[in-house]
């Protein structure tokens, strides 16, 4: 499968010129999702998509991924309209598909079916103009692919990585290599506990830092997120979602919002990352209030800032 840039995916020269700060690598998918509040079919999904859409509130990200010939033009137009650069998206036969559902407590997605399709042979190639990106988000994909992107990217890039239990169980040595090279590691609470075989999130965070990561963020769903560095600890509150509809992609949206904010700010220090965690949480909370990525056109940056303000208020004492 050739890893070519697709003519029809090339966005405007204007977008191209400005996208060299942030590159996101993750999946593009078509999802069937059912929750107690409704269902959607073949909706735009995948970790790369959720993250890119969230980041696009701050910056024009370049996406590295793969889609099939069946990928609807409508979704393509959505990505173009958000100024997401698709030069790094290669084309295979059939788009990755996932179908799943949530039961009443909405805490865990139950998978009905996963069709990897084109993803099986995905070999991410960074286009030349992506290689100077200063910020890199490697969403949940095979750690071997994450390593291959790190090799292609600028050595100076800030690297944010995510993963999932499947890779912890099946490619742990490779994943540990990725963590060693990452600046910021994202794990959810269950993954953190599983990776280091400890019930203590604090201990899991310490072990991640000992591996070489500068920061680790543990996502706890409704309970918020924890940020750890060698020196300090930040506890971000969960947003009190009253209208939770579909948590799919909230974690990827969190990561995309975080890295989008960091790229926009152009600086990396703990106070900035704390703010980024809150911006990421704000976007993730909007994401979970609608199905799939449908929140994307219903909010603007003013809404995000408003929710950022609510986060300040709910933790004031």
């Amino acid at each position: 499968m050739p890893s070519i840039c697709l003519d029809e995916f090339i966005t405007s020269p204007y977008a191209l010129k400005e996208m060299n700060d942030l590159v996101i690598c993750g999946t593009i998918g078509l999802d069937d999702i059912e929750t107690p509040f409704g269902k959607v079919k073949s909706t735009l999904g995948g970790s790369g998509i959720y993250a890119s859409l969230a980041a696009s509130f701050f910056i024009k990200p370049g996406l590295v991924s793969i889609v099939g010939k069946d990928f609807p033009d409508e979704h393509l137009q959505t990505l173009k309209s958000r100024k997401i650069n698709l030069d790094g998206v290669s084309k295979g036969q059939k788009t990755f598909r996932w179908s799943g559902f949530y039961e009443f407590d909405m805490n865990e997605a139950k998978t009905k079916k996963t069709e990897l399709n084109s993803l099986k042979n995905f070999k991410p190639i960074l286009p030349a103009h992506y290689k100077t990106a200063k910020y890199l988000f490697l969403a949940n994909i095979d750690p071997e692919l994450q390593l291959s992107i790190i090799e292609q990217a600028s050595k100076k890039a800030l690297i944010l990585i995510d993963t999932m239990n499947y890779w912890i169980e099946n490619k742990k040595p490779q994943l540990l290599k990725v963590i060693k090279q990452a600046d910021i590691v994202l794990l959810n609470d269950a993954e953190a506990r599983e990776l280091f075989k400890t019930p203590s999130l604090i201990l899991a965070a310490q072990k991640t830092l000992q591996l070489g990561a500068k920061y680790v963020i543990i996502k706890k769903g409704e309970h918020g997120a924890l940020l750890f560095s060698q020196k300090s600890h930040f506890s971000a509150p969960g947003y009190p979602c009253e209208n939770l509809k579909d948590p799919t992609g909230a974690g990827d949206s969190f990561a995309g919002g975080l890295i989008g904010y960091l790229s926009k700010r152009g600086q990396i220090d703990e106070p900035t990352i704390r703010k980024g965690v809150i911006f990421g949480s704000a976007i993730a909370s909007y994401c979970a209030e609608d199905f799939g990525t449908l929140y994307r056109d219903k909010i603007n940056f003013k809404d995000i800032k408003e929710r950022y303000g609510i986060f300040r208020e709910i933790r004031r004492f």
Copy 2:
């Protein structure tokens, strides 16, 4: 079983005179506890004890409870040394006993054995000088007993109540009556979900407020606590305990710290309750770092204030 004030429990006149602001009703017990970090036998325990000790960092509380003749003098001296007034403690045959253990994840106590003993016939009677207390904490006991204390107490008292899943399952109508009369209701997350048959803590909190409570606090263990009023929401972080040894009584210590702080401050508004939640969390975190109530003599108010400061720092963005 007569509900008399015991001569040997009467504390100094000095303490007596000053204790009329806060009354706490809960159990006194002797606990055997085993965690992955060690074990203790016949240690001082019970909801009334944990709460009173925590409150005693702020004020001299009066305790309403029952003990048996087997209650060690050593524990009695501990309570006296903390200026906890015991005029409301009646004496039965044998002290309530609980033995339990925690497995590696420490999230849930597993009960080996519960011996109610004197508690079976406990009929709490408020001594005359307790009846003017302005603050009342009814820890986890039978809701019918909670109602009987509310009837005996001043109608102007601020009432904080706690409960447990057993009463939700077995005395729900009585518990709902208690909630209607309470100012502040404490529930842990599982209890909140069970009481209102919803996975949403937000919805459970709203339903508690609809019953008539002015505030509801949902305790989430390591994830902190949520405070809700009709108008607002506060999310208190969990303290990042690195040396968690025994979570027994942390919830009661939280409640005792909260009500102790509120009594000391002598005012009830949301900003004050938010601060009380943090003081309660600080004391609860110390409690969980040692077995039973053993933390009590190892810290002082300066330590609590220091941890209060850490709570501020981990929330800053």
